[in-house]
């Protein structure tokens, strides 16, 4: 099964694991995708699974507006196949010796 993967402008990446999406009954990420002007970045592919409507280069250039709607939709209503990573290595390094506030 394939994987959809693209980088985003601010420095991060989106990975959609179709092995997991196959078992998803809602495909909630697709209607949640709200990117304007270019239409939705995520569309249903021929197999009904989420696919990119633009090239990965276009997505990275800003076609994906990083609204995180797909991420939250997948978390709450999907099967968890979509991962939106927004790394912060500098913060992680600071926190390495520090616990979260409680």
């Amino acid at each position: 099964m394939s994987t959809v993967q693209f980088d985003v402008f601010s420095g991060g990446s989106v990975t959609i694991d179709h092995d997991i999406c196959t078992g998803c009954t809602t495909k909630a990420c697709i209607p949640a995708c709200q990117a304007p002007s270019l239409g939705s970045v995520l569309i249903a592919g021929p197999d009904g699974l989420p696919a990119l409507s633009v090239t990965p280069e276009q997505a990275k250039k800003g076609a994906c507006i990083e609204c995180l709607a797909c991420d939250l939709a997948c978390r709450s209503r999907g099967a968890g196949g979509l991962t939106f990573r927004l790394p912060m290595p500098e913060l992680d390094a600071i926190l390495a010796g520090q616990s979260w506030p409680s």
Binding site: C67, L72, F84, L86, E90, I94, P101
Partner: protein
């Protein structure tokens, strides 16, 4: 504003043809002694720190021999001046000064143009001159950025000052060169104080430069961190991490500054440290004005406005909530066109990743007021954030006072519950 150290500013001045005293950098006492020996005469040892009032604070010392220079350097290295540790010295040749002048260019927001300021008195006397209490005279002129500041324009500006003719000519030439540096490096401020009139001609004895934050990307050669805008203290690790958010993404802004990084001010004032984020500076100030009398002091100021992406809110929120010791979080929006559903998604993602189920264990209050505010509130409910007993979400009918009082009530209950 990103400030430049004196030594860096002077280097840029020299590249533009503005003379400075002969000098050497020293990172150790032996290097300072060697520099004094090289310079072969009386020297000034100047702490290289980003702080004003350096001379008055003892950050500049003088020596007549290399041995004396070593002694003075030993007294300076490691010394803390205005919160900054002295780790580098500029050892400069002392010069014979006939008189001191002042020349500066600032970005004059009121006139939307650079303003050139020249005073016939420099050094500490500039304060009196600007205050109108001294005998010095001032010349101030707005520069047309399309025409620049050619020497004839500069000469015209200072023609009325009581300065001898030859000095006027060389001063006008220097002013014109100074403007070239101001423009080339996108400065908000460039200042030579004092500008010394010496037997060798005009010499820049000091240099203050500040670069426009939004132009820093144009000057990688300066290797400046965006967060040097926090002025008289070194940026905190969190400020440095936060500065990268805007650096990598121009969509909207996330300005994060720690007002009370270690909570010391809050403890001294017997207040409670909290994390803070606001959509716009105005509403932030208003909410902080309401929070402080109720006993809370934001550990940070953060402005996430200009319709930032949700990913920018995610990163800013993670940084705010990573401040140790905060006893709560306040998010305030103003009535603006900012798309608050995006704002909420970023916050929600951060909460989901920080707290189990996205439900914080510290009191958190949000006001969503503006475009897509109802959607934002619905998202907070949908993703379980509001299921926490320590979360309250206010809508467009709430005021800044409601937000602060709501937080105080929430915090009170939270404290009672902890006990």
């Amino acid at each position: 504003m990103a400030k430049l150290l004196e030594q860096v500013g002077k280097q840029l001045l020299r590249q533009a043809g503005i003379a400075t005293p002969d000098g050497r950098l020293a990172d150790s006492v032996p290097q300072a002694e060697e520099a004094a020996r090289d310079l072969n005469g009386p020297v000034a040892l100047k702490a290289q720190i980003l702080a004003g009032g350096r001379g008055l604070a003892g950050g500049i010392r003088f020596a007549t021999t290399p041995e004396e220079a070593a002694h003075e350097a030993a007294a300076l290295f490691g010394r803390v001046i205005h919160g900054r540790t002295v780790e580098r010295l500029l050892v400069e040749q002392c010069v014979k000064i006939n008189r001191e002048l002042y020349v500066g260019i600032i970005s004059d927001a009121g006139r939307r143009a650079p303003a050139m300021i020249v005073s016939t008195a420099g050094g500490m006397a500039i304060e009196q001159a600007i205050g109108g209490h001294g005998s010095a005279s001032l010349a101030i002129g707005s520069i047309d950025v399309l025409k620049g500041a050619p020497p004839y324009w500069c000469l015209d500006l200072i023609g009325g000052l009581a300065l001898p003719g030859p000095l006027l000519a060389s001063l006008a030439n220097l002013m014109s060169r100074l403007y070239q540096v101001y423009r080339r490096y996108d400065c908000n401020l460039i200042e030579i104080n004092p500008l010394a009139v010496t037997p060798r001609g005009l010499l820049a004895l000091d240099c203050r430069m500040a670069i426009d934050d939004d132009a820093l990307f144009r000057h990688p050669e300066l290797d400046l961190a965006r967060s040097q805008e926090v002025s008289d203290r070194a940026p905190t690790p969190l400020e440095l991490a936060a500065a990268l958010i805007d650096e990598k993404d121009h969509r909207g802004s996330a300005h994060f500054v720690q007002i009370d990084p270690d909570g010391e001010l809050a403890r001294a004032q017997k207040k409670i440290s909290i994390g803070f984020d606001g959509v716009g500076t105005g509403v932030s100030m208003a909410v902080m004005d309401e929070l402080v009398p109720l006993g809370f002091l934001p550990m940070n100021f953060c402005d996430t406005s200009g319709n930032p992406t949700a990913s920018k809110l995610y990163r800013a929120t993670r940084i705010i909530l990573s401040q140790p010791g905060i006893e709560g979080y306040v998010f305030a929006s103003c009535l603006s066109s900012q798309q608050l559903d995006n704002t909420a998604r970023g916050i929600i993602k951060a909460f989901l990743e920080i707290y189990p189920g996205g439900q914080p264990d510290i009191p958190c209050i949000f006001s969503f007021r503006g475009a897509w505010d109802e959607t934002a509130i619905a998202l907070m409910q949908e993703h379980g954030i509001t299921a926490s007993p320590w979360v309250e979400v206010l809508g467009r009918d709430s005021t800044e006072g409601d937000l602060a009082r709501g937080f105080a009530a929430l915090h009170r209950t939270w404290r009672e519950h902890r006990v």
